[in-house]
Symmetry: C7
Subunit: 74 residues, 7 copies
């Protein structure tokens, strides 16, 4: 049996709502459309949050993996 | 069927308006001319925004991928 | 006899509670589900701590290895 | 037909005036002499700008690609 | 005769007390259990210090090499 | 004819006075003795400057390429 | 004749006193015992300096190359 890896969790989260924290302090909530080996993410229905509240609706976006702190399915 | 990847979203956005946030807090709006595997972007009709308002017209520019936080088609 | 390596300690911690400090000052406590060669981690029952106190329940998350300072089994 | 890439824009800008923003907040204006695959740039007639005004004449310089935010032909 | 390398010093320090300074300003003191080619370290009996005084007992931990400033046998 | 590259400019500057700005804000002036593919530099007769004034005579030094912002022959 | 490289200067400094500035602002003075291709350094009789004054005697240490700004034989 192959050992599970963190990217398996991203794979299961495809099509679902995720919360993403970026370096600095940007927080994004949206639907995970796709990811790649660098942890670059495509998100749609993306919203930027501040203090848990909606700050801006962003729509579709590509987040650069190198600046991601964590991704959490919600 | 090949799985979709985040760069497919950049590919679909070619020739269209995008919003780009860079590390620090620079925000750029313009037309996506091209990109490469490092997420370096060429943008034309580029404008630098501050607080959502136009700060400066930059024209054509190459943005270095390593300093990009996100790219969003608008 | 092969020499022990730091990732052996992560391997022994699979399924157990760990404390993780990220760059910036985020502290996460949760169960280590999996890790990969970049030290990306999947955590479940994750909680964000502040000053040792619970700040937020996050559930399941993928932490990017490049932003990790330390991982400690607890 | 080969797809255009961001470095094609640098190639077209050879011998012309460019504006370069570096990490931190240094802004350089000068003539693009050459570049390489790391986006290292050689610039001549280089001037450092501050608030759009001339701060210092630097002459010829090599800018390290990793610290570049953007390059814009002007 | 092969030339000595900095990692030889880590090798000699295995099983001994070391002091580690991380980026930011975290200081860790503990016993070096193992290390790898990225300078990731496994430490046991780890203690976090502040101003030379004990701040917290951490037990066993994996420190990410990329965030290490120095390691010193004590 | 081979296209010129930024490192050709470093090659021409060998044995001559250069000004180097490092990340943070250190400025070094001295004679360029050698460089390598990572833009690591060996400098002799090195002086650290602050506000254009001499702050300290350093003598010979190796500057790490990754922390260089620019190198300028003077 | 092979061209000289910056690491030749480190090689000549083996066994001699060097001054090292790290990112942040840590300054270390000590005897260069060894180095490797990443510019990791082993130092003995190491002292941490602050404002040119002795702050702490550290003894033997391994300094991580990626966080070094410069190394200067003294």
């Amino acid at each position: 049996m192959m050992q599970e890896r963190p990217f398996d969790l991203l794979n299961k989260a495809l099509g679902q709502q995720v919360l993403i924290r970026m370096k600095g302090s940007m927080v994004i909530r949206g639907r995970l459309k796709s990811f790649d080996a660098h942890m670059n993410l495509a998100i749609d229905n993306a919203e930027e949050l501040e203090g848990g509240e909606l700050k801006a609706k962003v729509g579709t976006m590509v987040l650069r993996g190198g600046n991601i702190v964590f991704v959490s399915p919600i």
